[in-house]
Amino acid sequence: MTARIGVVTFPGTLDDQDSLRAVRLAGAEPVSLWHRDKDLKQVDAVVLAGGFSYGDYLRAGAISRFSPVMETIIDQARAGLPVLGICNGFQILTESHLLPGAMLRNNHLHFICRDQRLRVENADTAWTGDYEQGQEISVPLKNIDGRYVADARVLDELEAEGRVAFRYATSGAAADGYGNPNGSLRDIAGITNAEGNVVGLMPHPEHAVEPLIGTGRTDGLAFFTSVIKRLVTA
């Protein structure tokens, strides 16, 4: 069976085509989903792609979260549907309260686009199974509202339950893509829900799937192969 992976397009979504391409390159069948439809077309997993849905007006993800497609996604995510939120998708997941915390303006106030080193902190989620625990990967980062915050209790809970999925790797030079790029608390780049089916992160694995394009690395492909494996063995 070929896994069917849906990618949602909201008004202002930008990385939907790239996410569909990444899904295809990973070997699954890409399926376009539209924000006005509650119907998920029987997909086995969903990607909320990056971009500026509704222009990021009000707060990033705040308006999209109330769209018809999100009603179904919120329900099904609670029932175990694998959902990956990338950048704006992550922001939508926090605004929907599928993931805790919130995303704020970068501490330096600028949009930042660069190749970013990440450490995989949880290789057991639906989207990270093909990585090694502690592995360092490099994928593009591009956002202006990427600073992850939550109160200390939530942060402690995330750490205690191993729900920090990715951290910004800080052990090397900035010129090599190391460092916390936006002031995210505890260097958090991505998190997962307790069940491991819902994952959100700010950097863009879908931009790191072809050797020639972007940064020239393919470190992001394993997100998509991970979920395919999970779906096939499930």
């Binding site: 930008l14 990385d15 790239d18 391409r21 990444a22 500026f52 949009f111 930042i112 686009c113 940064t215």
Partner: protein
Amino acid sequence: MTLDTVKHATGTPETEQPWAELGLKQDEYARIREILGRRPTGAELAMYSVMWSEHCSYKSSKVHLKQFGEKAPESDALLVGIGENAGVVDVGQGYAVTFKVESHNHPSYIEPYQGAATGVGGIVRDILAMGARPIAVVDPLRFGAADHPDTKRVLPGVVAGIGGYGNCLGLPNIGGEVVFDPCYQGNPLVNAGCIGVMKHEDIHLAQASGLGNKVILYGARTGGDGIGGVSVLASETFDSTGPAKRPAVQVGDPFQEKLLIECTLEIFAEKLVAGIQDLGGAGLSCATSELASAGSGGMRVELDTVPLRDATLSPEEILMSESQERMCAIVEPDKVERFLEICEKWDVIATVIGEVTEGERLEIFWHGEQIVDVPPRTVAHEGPVYERPYARPEWQDALQADDAGKLPRPGSGPELREQVLRLVASPNQASKAWITDQYDRFVQGNTVLAQPEDAGMVRIDDVTNLGVAMATDGNGRYAKLDPYTGTQLALAESYRNVAASGATPLAISNCLNFGSPEDPGVMWQFAEATRGLADGCLALGTPVTGGNVSLYNQTGETAIHPTPVVAVLGVIDDVNRRTPIAFAEEGQLLYLLGDTAEEFGGSAWSQVIHDHLGGLPPAVDLAREKLLGEILIAASRDGMIDAAHDLSDGGLVQAVVESCLRGRTGARLIVPDGLDAFTFLFSESAGRAVVSVPRSEELRFNDMCGARGLPVARIGVVDGDEIEVQGQFSIPLSELRTAHEGTIPALLV
């Protein structure tokens, strides 16, 4: 106030009209009366005044721009030439590419963020209107002195605006320029370019034909923004005497523009439009008159059906409004319903505001009463044309006589070392990453090369790997010393950059930024620049597909340096063959291609070390440029080189430092026979590049260059973690990186 209808105007020929406040000259006003056979109505006067402004009519530049057509080289690639929203070139495999650069200089000084943002928005709509999907943007920028306090206001705002708009549209920013010079202090240059791609059969033109076809305005509601912004001069006076205070600055809504793009592309895909035009400068005045002028038949518009954001707008203001994110389409009646459905799907407001009529007139009505009745060609295409007087400025001789060759040169290794570090750390030569990292270069997943590469490159077909490349260049210092040569140097550099990336240059666009055309000295610069560009394009075989002219760039009496910016578009069959600038493989050999002479006039060295501008710019040899390009492209195609970097401002040492930092490797350089170390490192002779050659390819590469007659010199090897110039000095990469990357953040944070 009574509505100034056509009937009313006919009956009140003596009424005083504010033509001067609107920027019209007495004889221009007289000509309007002559065309109409009566005085214009207020609405007609508004239309003529904006459309006959310098910005829209090119009245001062037209006579010079003609050369681009007259001297155009033979080219099979050109599908649509000068005169449309943007030119279109054939890039093979059934694909066509359209590209253009425009200026948004004056608004960006007043409101840097919104001025720059709406500049991006405008050029993107131009590209979209040709039927193309916009795929990338570029942004050639000029600011005042890097350490001037106002630069701290203007630059961050401009950069945030370009990023804020382009990033939100999902267009990768793949190139541009950032140049600092005190001459741009009160008049920064914000040029923005866009590339779009389509299939040949999808090319759309701005024309209204087909009796009974509907005119549909879609996108944002119309508000009071940017009224008269077409000509800041006119708007200032208009604002102080006009009926209401209306802002001259527009606010952009990139989210609305993103919807407009997707909606329009879906409309194109279903073949629902017969003609289309974006709304930019001069808003509806421009769109309706240009559409009607270019098509067959006339046009009737019910202006009161235009959806408004501000109900108090007068008909004149609606016609002049430059509200952003709007398009105007001509649609056959039986396709209107589907058109409106697609707009609804994308939450885009769309309204039928008129139709194509019999006859030759553009007629506009306001609640049933006629307020405009004009021959549209006289508004859109038959505006005034000036043969402005021009004369070589008196100071030109003295400037050229002040030879940079006489400046004191560094006499020792340590002195050279110190000057190299100062050069690579100077604001114009320093890394621009602080700026370019605020732009998304990855979005759309097709970016092969972006900053700091020589050219931006994007894949346009992910099955065949067909790609296009683009570079923009301009050097105001060279152009000030000699506008003819300086413009050809801009063309040559842009051409060289594209060739260095492995792509074949096909065609060019330009943005000509100059001072006041009423100054004969400036007009001479303009005449020389256009002559240089036209001659240069003929020599290189790259036709001009379009462009933009921005005049009145000056502070008080002082004009900016003449700043022609040239954008060259190239094509590459397989992006896998692209050539990056990075020296990444230890042991590879470095070759300098081309001839190096003692040329320092207008150079970065003369500016950074001596704060000097004088003498002559480097000589141009376009036949040599062409040969160099062919060698670079062939070497890339046949795998003979792994890296290439063109030499331009800062000379060889600047290029080697950039390539080493990018590749994280050092280099050992040997000064070739016949050159002194200083000239070797700092000369800015044109027609040169440095390449990194795998040892296995050395013979083949040398043979090729020898056979084609291109001078080459082996100048060193990629090695270690410092740059060493044998017998002179060495500098660790880490020290170079700190110098090169620290400057801009320190100035702006």
